[in-house]
């Protein structure tokens, strides 16, 4: 998963749904640790669309997130 630091608001919603507890939200960035299963729940719950399988800024990823949601 990729997190766009410019879009991320550091709210921690992603960490709350992560089934394997590998998302660390610090005071400055989101760090996806080892063990990510690429389930994509974090991307679906992100209130600002800052997480994606690819570059969260790309239109393609945005469309994917909308479809998945």
């Amino acid at each position: 998963m990729r997190v766009d630091a410019a879009m991320c608001i550091l709210c921690g919603a992603c960490s709350g749904v992560c089934p394997v507890n590998v998302i660390e939200v610090s005071s400055t960035h989101v760090n996806i640790q080892e063990g990510c299963t690429r389930c994509g729940l974090c991307a679906k719950v992100c209130p600002v669309g800052a997480i994606g399988f690819g570059d969260p800024r790309s239109k393609r990823v945005k469309r994917f997130q909308r479809r998945q949601a």
């Binding site: 921690g12 992603c14 749904v17 660390e24």
Partner: protein, 395 residues
């Protein structure tokens, strides 16, 4: 840095600060950690709070953080039918619109004044485990790596809730159990009244949630919404932009702050204690699932947790069995209520826009004498017996 405390609290939101304050008051050595370098930031909240909890916990409202008093509610259905409820009918409750940036700091100061140590810019990265039980917190912060041993850890780390999971409690939220929220603090906007909180319903406006306008002051308000994880077609902030664009009184406003966050609406955890561990607030999912409000429950639960933790430390027994007093007491205080709200939420999210309009119409035609969930339902059922089936979960 290595040191030993009786109790370490992870997270300095309302739950954590109340827990740290009560722990210190009970005579135990307590440290409260928070990853943030500035408490209260970033705001992840609509910032509305009932005055009741402040009275109970003896916290005097201060105009620096209690920005605005509200005493009325306006509910708006998808097609625009309005239901107004004024103070006396909202069970005599007065609400405050807070400035969480100041409020959260104030609560941390109360904890510190009571004797709690506070460490900001300190991210917990794991628990210390000794003989199979929680024995402290490790992490990294502005001052480098740290390890703090303690008899009890209080997990107050909010919606992300990692600490409890490190201890073996599964707090992971399903997608349908989290509201994804976004909010603009807006200025230069119009609204009906500075004392009225506005709620807008509809699956196009906020799928499985609602939008709100909470006045913060003169021509200034928190404008936000929450969408249910499994329902939303796209990020919450896209819904919010569309909502603001649709409202003539908001469209011309200016955004001076963007907030976002997740609200757990799963109902509370099945178990909130383990040997040497207490879970409080959003981390324990102690949230009103219907409204998404969590500050008051977090503060009450935090206060109980701190009191129990201090007692357990002084008795030299911090086992799960001893700490169950916390779980028993918070469930007595708010367990039934939280369950009821959860049922009501499940009903609300099952309603179509058409149902919501019918509901609003029925409500708008009735003059309430004091409002309660059951009273409201009685009115509704008389007017729209067909809704009965959908609302049966509330009986």
């Amino acid at each position: 840095m290595k040191e030993k405390y009786d109790v370490v609290v992870v997270g300095a939101g309302p739950a954590g600060s109340m827990a740290a304050r009560a722990t210190a008051r009970g005579g135990a050595r307590v440290l409260m950690l928070d990853k943030r370098r500035e408490l209260g930031v970033p705001v992840q909240c609509g910032e509305a709070l009932n005055e009741g909890v402040l009275k109970e916990l003896k916290i005097a409202p201060d105009p620096r953080w209690a920005l605005n008093k509200t005493n009325a509610v306006k509910l708006v259905s998808p097609s625009g039918i309005e239901v107004r409820i004024v103070e006396k009918e909202v069970m005599g409750k007065i609400g405050y619109i807070l400035d969480r940036k100041i409020f959260d700091k104030h609560l941390a100061i109360l904890a510190a004044k009571e004797g709690a140590d506070v460490m900001v810019g300190a991210l917990a990265t794991g628990l210390m485990i000794k003989d199979g039980r929680v024995a402290g917190v490790k992490g990294v912060g502005v001052g480098g790596k740290f390890e703090f041993f303690s008899d009890i850890v209080i997990a107050a780390d909010g919606v992300g809730s990692r600490v409890a999971r490190w201890a073996g409690l599964n707090t992971a939220l399903k997608l349908v159990d989290i509201e994804s929220g976004a909010q603009f603090q807006m200025v230069d906007i119009d609204f009906e009244s500075q004392t009225m909180m506005e709620f807008y319903f509809g699956n196009k406006i906020a799928a499985g949630g609602y939008a709100w306008v909470f006045p913060k002051g003169d021509h200034m308000a928190n404008v936000g919404l929450g969408v249910l994880g499994g329902r939303a077609e796209g990020p919450a902030i896209d819904y919010l932009r569309a909502f603001v664009e649709k409202m003539p009184n908001l469209r011309k406003g200016k955004i001076i702050e963007i907030n976002a966050g997740g609200v757990p609406v799963s109902g509370p955890l099945e178990r909130t204690v383990k040997d040497g561990l207490l879970v409080v607030g959003d981390a324990a999912r102690q949230v009103n699932a219907l409204t998404g409000g969590g500050i008051d429950h977090a503060m009450r639960a935090g206060d109980i947790a701190g009191e129990v933790a201090a007692k357990a430390v002084s008795e030299g027994d911090t086992s799960e069995k001893r700490l169950m007093e916390y779980e028993k007491r918070w469930r007595e205080l708010m367990g039934k209520r939280l369950e009821r709200y959860l049922k009501a939420k499940n009903v609300l999210v099952s309603l179509t826009d058409d149902d919501l309009d019918k509901l609003a119409k029925a409500l708008s035609e009735v003059k309430f004498e004091g409002i309660s969930l059951t009273g409201m339902l009685r009115v509704l059922l008389k007017a729209h017996p067909k809704l009965l089936w959908k609302l049966r979960g509330l009986m």
